[in-house]
Symmetry: C2
Subunit: 329 residues, 2 copies
């Protein structure tokens, strides 16, 4: 691989000048620029990004930390973030935190040691304090899907409470009054927020909260399976089920089929997230849309603006979910 030095020799200019035409960082006479570019072409020169990073103290890399790299949800997030950065010549380093505080912290350190210019974090377990400390340490980062008061200006979130409200409201509007709720782990911020929204909707329709119609799942398919079995075993009376995400809703629908409960006639089901497979269920899942791509894009733009000083369209911090009525409720 040719180096900048060889280019400068061939073009008959100094290293500095070559660097200037590469980075367009200072005016260079048109004829000089021409010569340099010709030399670069001739040598098939491509700047060594590592050397650039070391010298400029910018790595042009952004670290992304999500809970799981697999799964429908994060895939779309990554996809969007990558394409945003790719378009401006930056690259994305990914890591998984697996919803574990220790792992999350370790992953963040890992990304930091990689000299990422910024981090985009989807972290669930690490404490608010830790994030505050991280901000103090000077590492630029954005947090997705979590509101942390101490670093509120770097949080991009979905109004989960509204989402929970929307889901339950939809059912209430259609006359359901006995609505069971399958939550995610309540220590997760989004899970508890969604549940709050559920309660608000109930209240609005003067339906009292019934603890026997609450089940704390795990945001996985099995959570939905166990939930429905639990309610059925307890002989709970309910005509509708709201699940705090689509995976659990799928699990619940599977069980409904198995026990011969017709959806939505005997049991209406609504999910949350609108992941890509949510319309593969039968009947197609009514759910609340999580605008994950828009959020990913916004996170990328935050970085573009605050770290790379690029002009970007207006930033938005809180996104509104939307109900997607399909066939299951």
């Amino acid at each position: 691989m040719a180096t900048i030095y060889e280019v400068s020799k061939l073009a008959g200019v100094s290293l500095a000048t070559v660097s200037r035409v590469i980075n367009n960082t200072a005016p260079v006479r048109a004829s000089t620029k021409e010569k340099v570019e010709a030399a670069m072409r001739e040598l098939g020169y491509r700047p060594n990004s590592v050397a650039q990073s070391l010298a400029s103290n910018r790595s042009n890399s952004i670290g992304i930390l999500v809970s799981e790299l697999g799964g429908p949800f994060y895939g779309e997030l990554l996809s969007r973030i990558e394409s945003e950065f790719r378009a401006v010549g930056k690259h994305v380093i990914v890591a998984a935190g697996h919803s574990d505080a220790e792992l999350e912290r370790e992953s963040i350190e890992f990304l930091r040691s990689r000299n990422c210019d910024a981090l985009i974090l989807h972290v669930e377990s690490v404490s608010d304090d830790y994030l505050r400390g991280l901000a103090d340490s000077g590492t630029p980062f954005v947090v997705i899907n979590r509101h942390v008061a101490a670093v509120a200006d770097r949080c991009i979130t979905l109004d989960n409470e509204l989402g929970g409200y929307l889901a339950t409201h939809h059912l209430l509007e259609r006359g359901h009054r006995r609505i069971a709720y399958v939550s995610g782990p309540m220590w997760k911020h989004d899970a508890s927020e969604r549940y709050k929204g559920h309660l608000r909707a109930l209240k609005e329709f003067s339906v009292a909260e019934d603890k026997s119609l609450f089940f704390e799942g795990d945001f996985q398919e099995t959570g939905g399976v166990r939930a429905l079995h639990h309610f059925l075993d307890a002989k709970a009376k309910f005509t509708a089920l709201v699940c705090a995400n689509d995976e659990m809703a799928s699990g619940a629908i599977t069980v409904a089929h198995e026990v011969g409960l017709e959806v939505p006639a005997e049991l209406a089901v609504v999910g949350f997230d609108n992941v890509n497979f949510s319309h593969y269920t039968y009947p197609k899942l009514t759910t609340v849309d999580y605008p994950i791509e828009a959020i990913g894009q916004m996170a990328a733009r935050w970085v573009l603006k605050h770290v790379y000083q690029q002009p970007v369209p207006e930033l938005k911090a809180v996104f509104q979910p939307q109900l997607i009525p399909r066939d299951s409720a």
Copy 2:
């Protein structure tokens, strides 16, 4: 951030010695090592990976190029690859090629310019010649899910032909004789291989190929939708449908529900890939398992062995798919 220089001063040794204890690259007296480690701890020192890369000509990063970052399939692949590398302190840079030759080439160049130590490529559109050239250029890389004769030693593949055979064989064994086939784009290697396997199974059961029962889809849900509509509109007679991937199978099942065709009683459906949502369909999808994680792991190990000279368990180049019988066929 502290530098190696400060550590060496505090520990009262030279830069070289500090480097040695960091990299464990030459013997250092235990007492010296102790001092250095203490100094590192005291300063909260972490090596600057960019400087390390520049000096050692190793970036400790691996570029991964897949068609789409979203989607069930690639997510699991990435997930596995990342965790393999993460465990040994290497990081993963991701890019998407979107099945487009130009984009794939550009992405590869992009990753190369990032000084990746190796690339793991899931490329569909770039030519065999291009890959040969890439190999000649000295960039280490592995190709996943595609056999390229010129660089056969760097290909890790699934026996797609066998997979296609298995799917159709399963149906034939259960008495089906009129089996429609929904393929992926035939220019994609895996799609054509799977179809070959289908034909082999038919032949084995002395069933003649019927071109009217073939439909070339797009590996997307809509492909399955269009396929089934196509067959139905053409009043084709068939009792089973094999789809070259699960997305298309889902689409087909959805249509079956819509038109009141009972699965599997009136129409047996088998998919391919066994992606994570394949059991969310109703009935649960019978499919062919694509051991994507194992393949990801193997790709990572190939790199570990050939690029980082690490000892790894035996490498395997061709994986055998397996039929996963569920409820749809």
